[in-house]
Each structure stands twice: as C-alpha cells, then as structure tokens.
C-alpha cells in the first residue's frame, strides 16, 4: 500500500517540525515548505494526497495559494490553519475551496483526526459493529460487551465509547470529545470536568473486571483506546 503524502506549508519552523514528526510517526510521508512560494511550487508540481496550509505566510498568503491551486483545478484536499479566531478567515478559506480548517493553537490529535477524516472522505466507512480486543459494540442494537460481560452504559457513555472505538489507536483530545460527543462548540472548564468524570466512569465499566486495560489517559493530551500499552 503506497504511503500517504502530506505537504505542510508552515513558516513557523518549530510547529512545522512538530507536525512533521507526528505525521511521520503515524506513517505519513511528509514534505515541509516554509514559504508560500515554495509551498505553491511544490503543490503545483508534485502529487500530494493532502495539504496542510497555514493562512498567514510571509510573501504569498495561504489563501492566495489556495485560490490559485483551485483555479488550476488541483483538487488535493486542503486543511487550513488559522491563528485568528475570527469567522472571516474560516469562511473565506472554506469559500476558496479549503476542505477543513483548524484554529491555532490546536491539539495534534485533533489535527490527525481531521486528516484521517479528509483522507477517508468519499469512502463508505460506516460500520454497525465496532471491535477492539474483546470489546464489542453493536450500534444497531445499542449493546456493548466486554468478553462475555454485557456493559451497562448510559446513553452518554455509549456515545463516548463509540467515539473512542471509531478512533481506536489514536489520541482523542477533550476538545474533540466536547465538540463531537457533547456537541458543545466551546470548551469550558465545567465541561472538561464533566468529560473527565464520564471517562472515569466509562473506564470503570469497561476495564475494571478485565485483564488488560483498553482506555488510557495520556496526561495533558487526552485519551486513547488501544490494545496493549498506550
């Protein structure tokens, strides 16, 4: 299976390095362009599966690059990074043909999830059963079992577990949970506390009687559902 190629156009060197090393460890092929010109040149000349594009670049702005690429019918999925929390940049970016956006500062797990979603786009991926080790979820029957044991989950816990299972092996941040599971666009302290409590309860139900733990907390980042060590 050919490796997925990702172009990162980002002038902030440290951030570009961090992105590159994270993506590399997730088995992506990464190319970094640190100026707008370089980024445009590469995106134009080489074939990429995805472009991560900073909006504020010296020289040529990210939005300009995006616009030119789309005018030339280069339809590589583009995820834009914007530091401004204003609606304008995002709307403008999406109007110009960006496929998704992230506001800086963002959590890397979030970026990875967005990238996975963009690469998955267009492919049917809905499964009715999710599985990890001996944990199984039946989304139609709304049942979850760990080995032989039927898990007695609340509605919220069920959704939470489903989300973790869909992203199994990948880090899930509180930000992502707040937005995707709790449907709250903004993360606030009370909600963080709620997420932590719910996660503790879910973990108790899923892992307490089992030999190996599936749900792990990664301090400072979030949670991951994974077989074996986190």
């Amino acid at each position: 299976m050919p490796r997925v190629r990702v172009l990162i156009v980002e002038d902030e060197r440290k951030l570009a390095q961090a992105l590159a090393s994270t993506l590399t460890s997730e088995h992506y092929d990464v190319v970094i362009a640190s100026t707008g010109e370089d980024g445009f040149f590469r995106a134009n000349a080489e074939a990429f599966d995805l472009v991560v594009l900073d909006v504020m670049l010296p020289g040529r702005s990210g939005l300009e690059i995006l616009q030119t690429l789309r005018q030339r019918h280069i339809d590589t999925p583009v995820l834009i990074l914007t530091a401004r929390d204003g609606v304008d940049d995002r709307v403008l970016g999406l109007d110009l043909g960006a496929d998704d956006y992230l506001v800086k500062p963002f959590a890397l797990p979030e970026l990875l999830a967005r990238i996975r979603a963009l690469l998955r786009r267009g492919r049917p991926s809905e499964a009715f059963r999710l599985k990890a080790a001996d944990l199984e979820m039946d989304l139609v029957g709304r049942r979850a079992t760990r080995g032989e044991r039927l898990l007695d989950l609340t509605a919220r816990e069920f959704e939470l577990l489903e989300y973790l299972l869909r992203h199994q092996g990948h880090l899930v941040s509180r930000e992502m949970l707040a937005r995707e599971v709790w449907k709250e666009p903004r993360r606030a302290t009370p909600l963080d506390n709620v997420i932590d409590v719910q996660m503790t309860r879910l973990r108790k139900k899923v892992d307490s009687d089992a030999a190996d733990r599936l749900i792990h907390t990664v301090r400072g980042v979030g949670f991951v559902l994974r077989e074996g060590e986190p």
Binding site: P105, R174, E184, R187, T189, P190, V197, Q198, V218, R219
Partner: protein
C-alpha cells in the same frame, strides 16, 4: 479677528451679546427720544406762533389814511431777525409788514383758507414756520401771516442729537465693561472648578473638586463632576485589579512550565519521568489556552463584536439540560440537584451563550457546596421577567464581595480555586453572557445558608400572550 466667534471664551461672548443687546435697545430708545423731543419743540413753536397771531390781530389798527398799521407798544426790535408778520389784502396786496417778513416770499393767497393753518417754508436759506389766517380789521377782511424762524429750534435739536450720538457709545462701552466684570465674577467659580478638576489625574483619582454650595448651579456641576470622578475611579480600580490578577493568572502557568522544563533538563531521567514532565507541561498549556480563549471572548464581548443568534428558548428546558449535563459532577460529590421549573417560561436569547451562563452558575454551586449538599435550581416567570435561581449550600459570600464576585479573576478564597480547576472567569463569563442577552445576574444570601444566584431575563411577551389564549 482671527479667533472664530465660537472659540471665544464664554465671558467674551456673554459681554459681546450683552453689548449688542444693550446697543440695540439704546439706539431704539435714543431714536424715540429724539422724535419725541422734536415733536415737543415743534408744538412749542406752533403755540408761540398762535400767540403771535392773536397779539398781532390785537395790535392791528386802521390808520387815518385808510391803511393798516401795528399799534405795538411792546415792540422789541431785537427779535426782528427771527420773526415777522405781514398783512395781505384779499387781492394779493401787501398792506403792512414788520420784522423779517420782508425776506419771506409773497403769500400765495390760494393757499390761505378760511381756517388758520401752519406751514414750513424755506426762504433765502432759512427755514421758517408760518401761521396764516383771515381776520377782520374794522370791517375789512384781511389775511394775517405771522412767522418765526425754525433755526433756533434746529440748533437745539442738533444739540440733543449730538448728546445722544456721542453719549451712546460711551454708555455702551461702560456697560460692556460692567458686563465683562459681572460675567467674570459669575464665571469665576467655573474657572476655579476647572483648575481643581485638572488637578485630578489618573494618579490622583481619589481627589475631588470642592463643592462650595451644593444647591446652586455651580454646586450641582461640581457634584456631577465628582460623581463622574467616582465612577472613573472605580473603573480604574477595577482595571488595575484586573491587570494585576490577569498577569498573575497568566504568569503562573508560564512559571510552572518553565520550572518543569528546567527541572527536566537538569538531570537525565527515565523515559517515563520525561513523559510525566511533558504531560504536566501540556496540562499547563491547556490551562493557559483555556484562559486566553476565555479572556479573548470577554474582550470580544467588551468590544461589542459578538454576534448573537437569538431564538425563542424554553428556559426550564435549557436549565434541565444544563443540570443533567453537570449532574455527574454533583454525583461525584454526592450532591443532589433539585429542579423546580414550569414549562413555557420562554426567553429570546442565544442558546449557546445563555447555556454557558447557566452552566457556569450551576458549576459554581457544585464546586462551592460541601460534599453531600443539595443544590436547588428553580425556573419561574416573575411578571415580565424570566428568572433562574440557583441556591447553593456553600459558605456564602460576604456583603462586600457580592458585587465583585462577577469581576474577572476575583476570588473570595484565592488559595483553593485554582486547585478546583477554575480559571476565575466562570462567573465573569456568566455575567457577560446574561447581560449580552439583555438580562441581569445578582447574588443574595440564601434563606438559611449559602448563596442564591439569580439570573433574570426579559420574558418573551409574544409567546406568553399566545399561551394565555
């Protein structure tokens, strides 16, 4: 004059207006006086002519040769320059004349009617006033004309005019100077006030201007200025506290980050230890991010650049949602949240923003109530207000903190709140979120213990009305 009128001082303008008004009045007054005096003089002259006519009539006698002559025992020749009289026969023959009558033009008999009449004429450069009338002398009808020069009258009038014309500016100048002095006196307290107010600067905001008499206009102005200073001082204080608190709150995570980083670099540690250190740094970054995000949102709110998407909301339903979402936090502390709400209390508000307000207030109640306590939440309509009340069983808030509890970063007990995971902005966000939706929030002591937070919003009238039908 280079200074535009509107830029001149009030004192100058008052004096100016005063002088202009006074001048106008004096000009009118002088003109009226002059006209009246002239009228008076004219009438005096006419009266004299009338007397002259009668006395001339009396001294006119026929002579032996059938002509007429003046029988004038009191004739004063020194007056002959200024007066004269003559008698004409009905067919235009001058019968007799005396004084200056010789210089007058012949009498136009056509104009001499039966009734005596006055006339002003000019003869040889002099103005005369005449009285002409028909009289009978020993059975003959003759026309008698008496005349007096108007020159003296005109001289007197021009004297009066001179006094008026030259006196007027003098009076105006004097009055203007007086007005200026008066205006300066009247405005002196304002000048004084300005000097005092200028003394109050950002560094000396506690100073106030003196109020000499609080019942007069200046006193009220001074009171208003002092009031403005008080408000300015309190918002300055607020800002100062906020800056100090914000820098503390922002520096703390930075200091922690630096500490962990430096400590981690000093010695070689195990990978697990490094992971631990990095994780804890990330936690601080997370906290810092939340803090900065919240501050940015509040400052967007201050700048008024927040777009609300208002919709009609059932306040009871929204509150129940919040309570059920935060329920797990209460359960962890073995607290009970009781909700008493009626349906149909509807408000027009931005769902997410209002939800945030209620969330923060309920979260606050959970955080500061002891383990095992119960928290009472109620939703009701109160006249034209929709009210959410959250009663906790915490330690309560001392009266002096009740206003400040909604200030950014204000903490009654600064030691414990950071450990509880708060940013110190929860209630500030709540206040902002309620107020931007047109409501208000306040805190009162609870009936037995703790505090009651009361969010009050304008009830949606239209739906309220429909429901009654």
């Amino acid at each position: 004059m280079k200074v535009p009128w509107s830029a001149a001082s009030i004192r100058a303008r008052m004096t100016g207006w005063y002088a202009v008004a006074l001048s106008l009045m004096l000009v009118v007054y002088a003109a009226a006086t002059f006209v009246a005096v002239r009228q008076e003089f004219q009438e005096g002259l006419d009266d004299q002519l009338h007397d002259d006519f009668e006395s001339a009539e009396g001294v006119l006698t026929p002579t032996a040769d059938g002509r007429l002559a003046w029988l004038d025992r009191h004739h004063d020749p020194s007056n002959d320059e200024d007066r004269g009289s003559d008698v004409w026969s009905p067919n235009g023959e001058q019968l007799v004349s005396s004084g200056a009558s010789g210089t007058l033009p012949p009498l136009a008999l056509a104009t001499a009617g039966a009734q005596p009449h006055y006339q002003s004429i000019v003869a040889k450069g002099r103005r005369w006033r005449t009285l002409t009338g028909t009289t009978m002398v020993s059975g003959r009808s003759v026309v008698l004309r008496v005349a007096r020069s108007e020159e003296r009258l005109r001289e007197q009038l021009s004297e009066v005019l001179k006094v008026l014309v030259f006196g007027l500016p003098l009076v105006i100048v004097l009055a203007g100077a007086g007005g200026y002095v008066l205006a300066r006196r009247a405005l002196a307290p304002i000048e004084h006030l300005a000097v005092e107010a200028r003394r109050v600067t950002a560094e000396r905001l506690h100073e106030r201007v003196s109020v000499p008499n609080q019942h007069d206009e200046i006193g009220r102005l001074a009171a208003v200025i002092n009031d403005a200073f008080s408000r300015l001082e309190s918002s300055f204080d607020k800002l100062r506290r906020f800056t100090a608190d914000a820098s503390h709150e922002l520096r703390t995570p930075l200091a922690v980050l630096r500490g962990i980083g430096e400590a981690g670099l000093v010695e070689t540690r195990t990978p697990a230890e490094y992971k631990e250190a990095i994780g804890s740094m990330l936690e601080e970054i997370d906290r810092l991010t939340t803090l900065v995000d919240t501050l940015l949102r509040l400052s967007h709110g201050d700048a008024g650049s927040v777009h609300l998407s208002r919709e009609s909301l059932d306040l009871g339903q929204l509150t129940r949602e919040v309570a059920s979402s935060l329920g797990v936090l209460a359960e962890e502390r073995r607290q009970r949240i009781s909700i008493e709400s009626i349906d149909g209390v509807r408000v027009s508000a931005d769902r997410l923003v209002l939800r945030e307000a209620i969330t923060n207030v309920v979260d606050n109640a959970i955080k500061y109530s002891p383990v095992g306590a119960s928290i009472a939440v109620s939703v009701r309509g109160d006249g034209d207000r929709a009210v959410v009340e959250v009663a906790d069983q915490g330690a309560g808030i001392a009266a002096e903190y009740r206003e400040r509890i909604f200030d950014r970063f204000f903490r009654v007990d600064s030691a414990r709140s950071r450990d509880a995971g708060g940013t110190g902005l929860g209630l500030a966000i709540a206040k902002w979120a309620v107020e931007i939706n047109g409501g208000s929030i306040r805190v009162d002591p609870g009936a037995i213990s703790g505090s009651v937070f009361r969010i009050s919003l304008p009830i949606e009238r239209l739906l309220d009305h429909l429901q009654r039908q």
